[in-house]
């Protein structure tokens, strides 16, 4: 079976490519091996959170201009700042089509703050409606309450409260924590103690929501912001909406420790979108090696089969997803094709929590401006690379993981579509 395009990797970048190709009418299959990192993510899309000096940026698209000038090998530089904006605009429409509308906060092109389960604030650009992005100016928030459910270990309101208190803006604010003990209507007798977020989401029922509502009205009625673990909007009903309506409070959901409900929700939405527009999603299909000659991929091998396509997109992720491999001798390689890679001199910093991040995050496949990689110096014309397998950027420190995945996935798809359309 010949495909127009085989996408290797089913994470944010691979799914983006798959959806765009399928929409363009291409025969496309996304083959993946192992669940993608989206499962543990916040379920938000960050584009650029910090500038070159490490300061939080309000307008990521403006800051991009300066970033690509200073770092010509940054994936954003290959895509081009105009295309980054276009791709994200496209993504916003797609994810809404998939039934998961996502929003920016404040201005269309402005970052907002994402509240974390440790009480930190991270700049982000696009968020799910349940997250209720915090606008850039935080001044009007004077009383914050972190609420969790007694026993639940993956969102500890006491820790989050302590964390937020260290933020310069909130040092004078009143930050409190509250635990509500829930009967868990659909918990089949279990308590929140042993549940992870997706199970808690399932276990909550009408009577629990009643109780939460009463306790909120009794105890935190005057709060400017109430933060809850992200497990209310994904239950049998969207309980968060119900609670917002009944309490009139500003309620936001915060992504819990993995597994993360909003992350899983985004992943499912994208997979559903892919199959809805006619693409195929093939899990558990590792690609072992690729057959490349004269700058052309002829086929790729899975453990039992040889798969053929006109075009290939490599979106196999970084070390975690085995898109990159590190060996005892300190070498790093791209295991499927053995592509040319870039590796920073120092792989790791002295401390884990360092402002400059770690070199391993910047390691990856080197590409040209069409996102084509090379093998021993020869460009491979029918292979494009997208997402975190790419070299030249630090998704965590820059706060750019989502934006790079989407924009490079989108651009790789555009390149593929152009080529498949050619006679």
């Amino acid at each position: 079976m010949n495909y127009d395009c085989l996408v290797i990797g089913g994470g944010l970048a691979g799914l983006t490519t798959g959806i765009r190709c399928a929409e363009a009418g291409l025969n496309v299959a996304v083959i993946s091996s192992g669940e993608s990192a989206l499962t543990f993510s916040s379920g938000e899309i960050d584009v650029l959170g910090t500038d070159l000096s490490g300061r939080a940026v309000q307008n990521p698209f403006t800051a991009l201009e300066s970033l690509v000038q200073h770092q010509p090998d940054h994936p954003y530089a290959h895509v081009g700042t105009g295309n980054v904006a276009k791709s994200l605009d496209w993504f916003q429409r797609e994810i809404a089509e998939a039934g998961l509308p996502m929003v920016t906060s404040g201005g269309l092109w402005d970052n907002h703050w994402r509240l974390t389960a440790a009480g930190a604030l991270r700049p982000s650009w696009l968020s799910q409606q349940s997250a209720g992005a915090l606008p850039w100016g935080l001044e009007n928030i004077q009383r914050v309450v972190f609420v969790s459910f007694t026993g639940f270990l993956d969102f500890m309101p006491e820790l989050a409260a302590a964390g937020l208190k260290t933020h310069p803006v909130f040092q004078q604010a009143e930050v409190q924590s509250l635990n509500i003990e829930l009967p868990l209507e659909h918990g089949r007798g279990a308590t929140a103690d042993t549940m992870r977020a997706p199970q808690l989401a399932r276990a909550i029922g009408e009577s629990d929501v009643e109780l939460i509502c009463t306790r909120l009205l009794e105890q935190v009625n005057d709060a400017d912001l109430v933060a809850l673990p992200a497990c209310l909007s994904a239950g049998r009903k969207n309980w968060l909406t119900v609670l917002r309506r009944r309490t009139g409070l500003r309620l936001v959901e915060v992504a819990t420790m993995p597994p993360s409900v909003p992350g899983i929700r985004m992943l499912s939405a994208l997979k559903r979108r892919l199959t809805a527009v006619g693409g195929f999603m093939i899990p558990a299909m590792p690609v072992i090696t690729g057959d490349v000659s004269y700058g052309h991929v002829a086929s790729v091998q899975t453990p039992d089969d040889e798969l053929h396509a006109k075009q290939y997109v490599l979106a196999s992720g970084s070390f975690f997803s085995k898109g990159l491999k590190s060996h005892a001798a300190g070498e790093i390689s791209e295991p499927v094709f053995g592509l040319d890679i870039d590796v920073p001199e120092t792989l790791s910093g002295q401390s884990f929590l360092v402002p400059e991040g770690h070199g391993f995050n910047r390691a990856g496949v080197r590409v040209n401006v069409q996102l084509q990689p090379s093998l021993n110096g020869t460009v491979i014309e029918n292979l494009h690379v997208a997402g975190s397998v790419l070299a030249g950027y630090d998704p965590v420190i820059e706060g750019s993981g989502g934006g790079v995945a989407i924009s490079t996935g989108w651009m790789a798809a555009n390149e593929v579509i152009k080529k498949v359309a050619l006679p």
Binding site: A37, F40, S41, S42, T116, A117, A118, G119, A120, L121, R122, T150, G151, L153, D154, M156, P157, E158, L159, A161, A162, G163, K165, T166, H167, A190, T191, D193, T194, A255, M257, P258, S260, S318, F319, F320, K322, S326, H327, A328, G330, L347, S348, S351, F352, L353, V354, P355, H358, F360, N361, P395, V396, I397, G401
Partner: protein, 560 residues
């Protein structure tokens, strides 16, 4: 200045100091233990965790060998929940020949260590992880010991007999009046407050740092600091201790301990100024892996969790022959007798195995100073929690189990882990229907909420790293990537000072990283990337800026 009173002040909360603390308390003395960090945070927590049979010293140091086998038998009796009587093998490889084995058997016989010669086939049957190329093996009663648990249980016993523990308090000077030591000047490192403890005797049990205490009295000792590096493997690869049957060398022992195996060690001299900044080098890692895989070949493709190193506080007797020829024997000094400064006793040298014996010798000296004639009971009196059905490790009859709470229907992994770590004291924090406290916080090592709270309330744990030493939280394959924030949340719910909790969380994460860095490839790198996503991208830990995070409160070292 605040002033406290005691009969004895013990400086140093390692295994030796803890044992002196216990011995003094059991003999009716009012004792205070002063430790600048947490208990077992120095050399004690940075070794193999080997319950020596003494066989290791049988050829080179018969005296140490006899001490070891005697303490080995005692610890099995009094510290059942801290040791596992796994037995060990001394294997000979083709390159070693069998000559040494003959000397070894003789040495064991002389020291009273039961040694049984095995055929290679028998050895492989007993321990499938062993290198199949072996040409001979001897079985000896080695075992494993958890130094954190031993120290903690020892301290708990002392406290239950009237002793007081002051961890995170530094001894900054000795009060010397009328020609004798009359107390210790201390500083509480949490708030910087200085205070004095007046006492009749001070025991310097600060191990590798004992020269610093002696300097407060213008005394000196010729310490030889021998540094050893070790690797922790991701799972328990071997059931029995595996040793090389040859003269002691690098990476010649693989010890199964709890859920992991530890390969060690190397031996290099370090200067006293380097004690605070120890890092494992790439060469050491390479040597450990290369030599270690000769003991158990599967080590080559097994995962390494971390690397760490410790410093043996050896007392130099001669200047020649390198450190392995220096005696591992204990050194106990009554400075009244030796230096004309009564009131101060120094106990050093020795090894984890002989901590109880060292304490007995030191406490005898203290008792003489205080005119106390109560005899030492530490060899016969079990530590808190040590009442288990039978010595751990011996084959159980079918259907019987050691690691179960009596009459409990809790999952075996949960109840068993609690019993494994705390013996019969597991009942203090694990009740049948207490879903809340029986919830698992650290999934790798199965630590429950109840166990964490017990460690905070009863075992003096104040920081995240203290909790790790008391419970194994964060010691499994994920190195705390998931449980760190859960534990911090529990700490935050117990403590007023949120900043202190956050500081301790950041320290914990950074401390784990130090041990991972030397082995940062393969799955360790994948794990680190994932941890980084969780702790930095998802949670934003580095952007938290807790106030008053005193630098010197930080964990200085990386450990097991």
């Amino acid at each position: 200045m605040r002033r406290m009173e005691a009969d004895v002040v013990v400086i140093g909360g390692g295994a030796t100091g803890a044992s002196v603390f216990r011995d003094c308390s059991l003999r009716g003395m009012q004792a205070i233990l002063v430790e600048r960090g947490d208990i077992a945070s120095g050399t004690t927590g940075r070794n193999h965790g080997l319950l020596h049979s003494g066989a290791r010293y049988a050829v080179t140091d018969s005296h140490s060998a006899r001490e070891c086998i005697s303490e080995n038998k005692i610890l099995k009796q009094i510290a059942g929940h801290c040791v596992e009587a796994t037995d060990g093998l001394f294997i000979s490889l083709p390159e070693d020949g069998l000559d040494f084995q003959q000397q070894f058997m003789q040495g064991c016989a002389d020291a009273g260590i039961h040694a049984q010669e095995l055929s290679p086939k028998q050895a492989l049957q007993l321990e499938p992880a062993v290198n199949p190329a072996l040409i001979g093996a001897v079985r000896i009663p080695d075992g494993t010991i958890d130094p954190f648990r031993l120290t903690s249980a020892t301290i708990l016993d002392a406290r239950e007999h009237g002793g007081a523990l002051l961890n995170y308090n530094r001894a900054e000077g000795l009060l010397i009046e009328q020609g004798r030591v009359q107390g210790v000047r201390c500083r509480d490192l949490r708030n910087g407050e200085q205070f004095e403890i007046r006492c009749q005797a001070v025991v310097n049990a600060s191990g590798a740092w004992c020269h610093e205490i002696m300097e407060y009295a213008d005394l000196s000792v010729d310490m030889y600091h021998s540094r050893g590096a070790l690797l922790i493997m991701g799972h328990r690869m071997n059931g029995m201790v595996i040793n090389r049957c040859r003269k002691p060398g690098d990476a010649d022992i693989l010890v199964p301990g709890d859920t992991v195996s530890v390969i060690g060690t190397t031996s290099t001299h370090v200067g006293r100024d380097e004690l605070e900044t120890l890092e494992v080098t790439a060469d050491e890692v390479k040597t450990l892996l290369q030599e270690g895989s000769k003991l158990a070949p599967s080590m080559l493709d097994a995962r390494i969790l971390r690397a760490y190193c410790g410093v043996r506080p050896l007392v130099a007797e001669s200047s020649s022959g390198g450190d392995r020829s220096i005696s591992r024997g204990l050194v106990a000094i009554d400075h009244g007798e030796q230096d004309g400064l009564p009131g101060l006793v120094t106990i050093t040298g020795g090894k984890l195995m002989t901590c109880r014996l060292m304490a007995e010798v030191a406490t005898d000296k203290v008792a003489r100073l205080l005119n106390i004639s109560v005899p030492c009971e530490t060899a016969s009196r079990p530590l808190p929690g040590a009442h288990l059905p039978e010595p751990i490790g011996r084959k159980m009859r079918q259907g019987q189990s050691r690691y179960r709470l009596p009459d409990s229907s809790l999952p075996n992994s949960i109840a068993g882990s609690a019993v494994y770590r705390h013996g019969d004291r597991a009942r203090s924090f694990m009740q049948e229907d207490d879903h809340h406290n029986n919830a698992v916080v650290c999934e790798c090592e199965v630590v429950t909420r109840g166990e964490i709270l017990y460690a905070i309330e009863t075992l003096n744990a104040r920081s995240m790293s203290d909790l790790r030493r008391r419970t194994r939280v964060g010691m499994g394959p994920c190195q705390g990537e998931m449980c760190a924030c859960r534990v911090a949340g529990l700490l935050a719910s117990q403590q007023e000072n949120g900043d202190e909790v956050l500081g301790s969380l950041q320290d914990f994460v950074n401390e784990r990283w130090k041990g991972i860095r030397p082995v940062l490839w393969g799955d360790a790198l994948r794990e680190s990337e994932f941890s980084y996503w969780v702790q930095e991208s998802l949670l934003g830990l580095s952007s938290l800026q807790p106030e008053g995070k005193a630098e010197d409160n930080r964990d200085l070292y990386h450990e097991l």
